[in-house]
Symmetry: D2
Subunit: 252 residues, 4 copies
């Protein structure tokens, strides 16, 4: 039975994580950390509640973190130093902080995972796109989001384009017309197109073309509940990881 502490247990993702842990037969929720954890009626009597990091006086097997950019570094450091395998879904770690955490993990000989995106379909799309680009160097990315999304392209679409560019041999790419804005934004030579329409949620597709054939990979995120599948995968693997890896794709 894996003993689990959930940090950020009263937030939107944290609540879903608590529910997930309670349902999994090989996991046990033993503690939560959140500013108002001790006052919350959400957690069972057997669950220890801590209102701040300094109060935590327990070592679980796994530390799941859905907190804030301000808290995540100290939290993860604490987890590693107390030999709890961290699963970090909180965003905001700088590259420098990530490196420091990896150094601590190595010293303490404990593995964990930092995952900017727990959506399995998005992570698999990126993984497959990277692999396909070796055989289909010509690729374009189209992402589609609700009308209210302010930034374009989406961070995931940019990451996908860069992975494709890094994976393919640019010498094999076709020369195409690029002098119209209709051809999209260029990321390392990969055109990225952004659609913004009401009704849509969060969707991405990668189109590959080669002589006489085409390959398309598409993912649709209909709700944030999808992230729990990724957390589940992380829970099943984190205790076997030899170091602190970045990206869910590293363990798929």
């Amino acid at each position: 039975m894996k003993k689990i502490l959930v940090a950020g247990a009263t937030g939107s993702m944290g609540k879903q994580t608590v529910q997930l842990v309670e349902k999994l037969p090989d996991c046990q929720l033993v503690a939560v950390l959140a500013p108002t954890a001790s006052k919350s009626a959400e957690f069972g009597a057997s669950v220890k509640s801590f209102d701040n990091l300094a109060a935590v006086n327990i070592a679980t097997d796994i530390w799941i973190d859905f907190t804030t950019p301000q808290a995540v570094y100290e939290n993860t450091k604490f987890a590693l130093k107390h030999h709890m395998h961290p699963i970090v879904g909180t965003s905001g770690l700088t590259p420098d902080q990530t490196k420091k955490l990896q150094a601590i993990a190595q010293k303490e000989k404990i593995g964990g995972i930092i995952a900017p995106n727990f959506g399995l379909s998005a992570v698999l799309l990126m993984k497959f796109a990277q692999e396909a680009a070796r055989y289909f160097p010509d690729a374009e990315v189209i992402e589609m989001h609700h009308a209210d999304k302010r930034d374009a392209p989406s961070a995931t679409a940019i990451a996908t384009a860069k992975l494709i560019a890094a994976s393919r041999n640019p010498e094999n790419c076709s020369q195409t017309a690029k002098d119209s804005t209709a051809r999209g934004a260029d990321y390392d030579g990969v055109p990225v197109h952004s659609v913004r329409l009401p009704g849509y949620v969060a969707h991405e597709q990668v189109l590959f073309g080669g002589p006489g054939e085409a390959l398309t990979i598409r993912q649709d995120s209909f709700s944030r509940s999808s992230f729990m599948q990724g957390v589940k995968v992380a829970l099943s693997r984190v205790m076997d990881l030899p170091d602190l890896v970045v990206g869910l794709d590293q363990i798929l």
Copy 2:
């Protein structure tokens, strides 16, 4: 039995048209016009061959034109004046020439059709998009073509965007982020995205979004043989048209 003359009968589209006419039970190929028509072995003994317009000494029911931008105006004028219903697939008529031809058609009391695009799927897509825009004002166009296509966006995609813009009420449109080239080219407020990939032929899709739902219309042109379905529709209707209409959608 409708008697048909095919102008441009030795060209790529003209050849397919000749084959189509020969297969249709209610049509009869009686004459062809092409610079080398009289030397061609392609046409049956019963078919009259003319090498130039001045030589044409016959009046058929229908004149099908797949010639050149240089020839099409005089050809169509000739057809109208000799009371042959024209079906014009040749591009290159100026708006002014089109107006003059329509005036001649009116004076001669003869109908016909000028169609820039005989692809039924493309024409239906434009028709449906126009109609859908009344209920889904938020729309984007994505067209996908082979890597060698030089211009972007395609003429059909631009035409589609303009039809959508003219049909919808702009006051009902969502405000979306537009400050990235990833958002495509703007045609009357409708974003148009162009994908250029090897393997692809000619494809277009229109994406509509509204609260909680989406509507997508897509057409794929795999080969030019598709145009013959549009010619077939024109053949079945042209003799009933009261004037010289522009666009296959006018008779669907």
Copy 3:
């Protein structure tokens, strides 16, 4: 200002309708009907609340009905007899009941609409599919729903297939292999395929194929909020309808 009564105002669809009416500048909610309407705190002081049909002592311009199969016939009859234009979204009317209501509407000289489906994208899909089938007689329907949906195919997919079959000329259809269950269920000669997967909500696509080209129409329903767009369209047109029509497509 159109005066509106909402029947079934405390149900899921009714609540959304009340919100919609309150937002529309040319509509005014003047009354609600629901078993517990008078006890509900949801409605403003200016709104009359009736707990049963017998209590209704007001005549509004429009009667919107999202009640139950048991109540809908008497409700609609009442509305027509008191010269309120009915917009009926409740399912369960038998063909016989519908005919009787249409006769009453004709006698009372009042128009209205009975709409089994207020989803604009679904209604437009059916309308376009019907039209496209005249030019593309070869068609197949694929509907995709969440894994819990018990029936297959969906009612809308069956309705779509039947509309296509009624609209096309079966003589022009291709002969295809039909001896495998992989070819789907046959509705008047149109294959219908049903996909059931978790994550999916409610989606339908119609695929048309002709020589060298294809046309695809797809609709996605992400949430029931989409129905309100259809109610909005009905609200804008119902007072001009000369009789009691069935199907939102009749007024698009």
Copy 4:
């Protein structure tokens, strides 16, 4: 420079292979085998032409086989025994023949590849589907082909379904309604749907669904020219293979 013999060089695939080899900078066509090879004017003066297997008196680095089910076994055996790495695109080898050839390859210590499908997009689709099924056990396959295809489902779709079934944990699958033919053909629990429409060429998609999200992989084969990309990949890898592998996916 890799020296190549093409067997079946006058057939449709063989001709394309000859053209491919002549274009590749690190490959040299040194011999062809075909019943009428010596009479064909297609091959350069430097290329040796053999009309039958018994006449072949040369050992190249690589033997590419696009011949007939009758000839392929003896051809491949000959290639292996003369230490030519075989790339076999001819279908028709029985499982027993394949085993015998693998034994010969092992004895002769020479690698090669037998590939039932050289279409890279189809092979990658199968590879990715297999991988995705581990995280998305709920999956359905839809394949779309031209109206003339007699069998349904396609061999590739069946193979895809079986790979998915073998890769996923069936205990994690959703229970879905299966009592309608609309639910397709069942292959090891994976529903397979077949669409047959004119205009379509050869297309396949795999739909995966999980809580709140979906993943779709699609491939389109527009023409047989696509197979040459797979042959190219095989040419670049075959000389490094330690044994005789089956399936292009084994070397991707």
